[in-house]
Point group: C2
Chain length 242, copies 2
């Protein structure tokens, strides 16, 4: 089977996103430390749906309606929340068959920005293999949308975009005229021999370590943990595969 | 002599610039293809001053006042202008002792954005050695500000930022907690063995080739062409050194 050539693009920050260019594309939202890794973990452990929210008040409202809520600010679990934002909190015991509200400023922001796209999927190292396989089966352009940190470029989201872009470009189905994609692939080539050592130098790594929230980083850099692909459907994230 | 540790940061796009964070810094403005390379060439060839302007109308007004004007749009020299924006147009015969108006949308934009900084200097491969030497003699933080292209990340500005950042970090006078700087240095490490081949794949390279404006690219990637460092003084660029 030959496929028409699809466009592959990468965006390093919400401040650089151009929604009108990606209306027909599948947008992969990426926030490796830690929202997209936590969301993939939740579905791996049987969550039914995740409602991403940006604000604390919105999360509190959901809690009062009886939802399970994951919410923290500056490393502290908020008093009304059931647990914090680390992937390790989304255990099978807690999340199986549940709808969970996940408070994430960066993650919710980029999902909203991408709302005019054909489809929105959540990407992390944990589901990279399944995501890659699914994307290649779709006849769609792909936009790799990095959440960054407070609108800034970050290394961990970029090397994930590079890892996925490298695989997609190797299929021959995709082409890119996007310098961000080329840069991401090259940074991935530098990081690949030892991604844990590479991420040691990233700013978010240091921020999480300072707050003692860095215990999940090794896990967030692990490939092939789950076949689940979270996608947006009617304002909620659900798993594409059972 | 030991120096206090200075901060080194990099910004990949005007859309990501945070002026309030760089008020005490020297901002190096970077638009390798072609504004910052053309400006460095003009001073190498004896220009007295350069007035960067963003709009065609502004450039036309200056022309009517008798200034020498370099201006083009989409690869065509504007009818009222004296010549176009390529570094090769800034010959000694044309520019020696002259004040030149240079029309550059990207370049003017980032100079305006950086106006609250301690100082603004123009950087390109052509003056990288002199610029490096001068920066290390200043007790200031440094922000490497890439013009990009229409607010997008680009490879040529980034690898220049990486080349300069690598040299600055090696002195031990600078430290960085900025993922953009770390990425730029890593991309430079990939590009360095053959920067001309590396820039072949960049999007702006393709755009210039399509418009047959790519004859200056080899020149723009040449290090050590001039000792001149263009800096902003009273709304004009002048050479720091005679």
């Amino acid at each position: 089977m030959t496929s028409p050539l699809r466009k592959l693009e990468t965006c390093f920050s919400p401040a650089l996103y151009e929604p009108e260019l990606h209306e027909g594309a599948i947008v992969v939202v990426i926030d490796i430390l830690r929202a997209s890794s936590a969301i993939c973990t939740a579905f791996a452990n049987g969550a039914k749906a995740i409602i991403p929210v940006s604000g604390v008040d919105e999360a509190r409202d959901y809690k009062s309606k009886g939802y399970l809520v994951a919410a923290e600010r500056d490393g502290f679990v908020l008093d009304f929340a059931d647990f914090g934002n680390s992937p390790f909190n989304f255990t099978t015991e807690r999340v199986k068959d549940k709808t969970i509200v996940y408070s994430t400023t960066n993650g919710t922001g980029i999902i909203n920005l991408a709302s005019s796209a054909y489809s929105i999927a959540v990407g992390s190292f944990l589901n990279i293999d399944a995501l890659f396989k699914w994307l290649t089966g779709q006849e769609k352009n792909v936009m790799l949308f990095c959440a960054g940190w407070k609108n800034r470029f970050n290394l961990e989201d970029t090397i994930f975009a590079g890892a996925l872009a490298e695989k997609l470009l190797q299929t021959g189905y995709y082409s890119t005229m996007c310098d961000s994609t080329l840069a991401a692939v090259d940074l991935w080539s530098v990081a690949k021999p030892d991604i844990r050592a590479y991420i040691e130098k990233a700013a978010q790594r240091t921020r999480l370590r300072d707050k003692k929230l860095d215990d999940c980083i090794d896990f967030c850099l692990t490939s092939g943990f789950t076949e689940r692909i979270p996608v947006m459907k009617n304002g909620q994230l659900v798993s594409l595969t059972e």
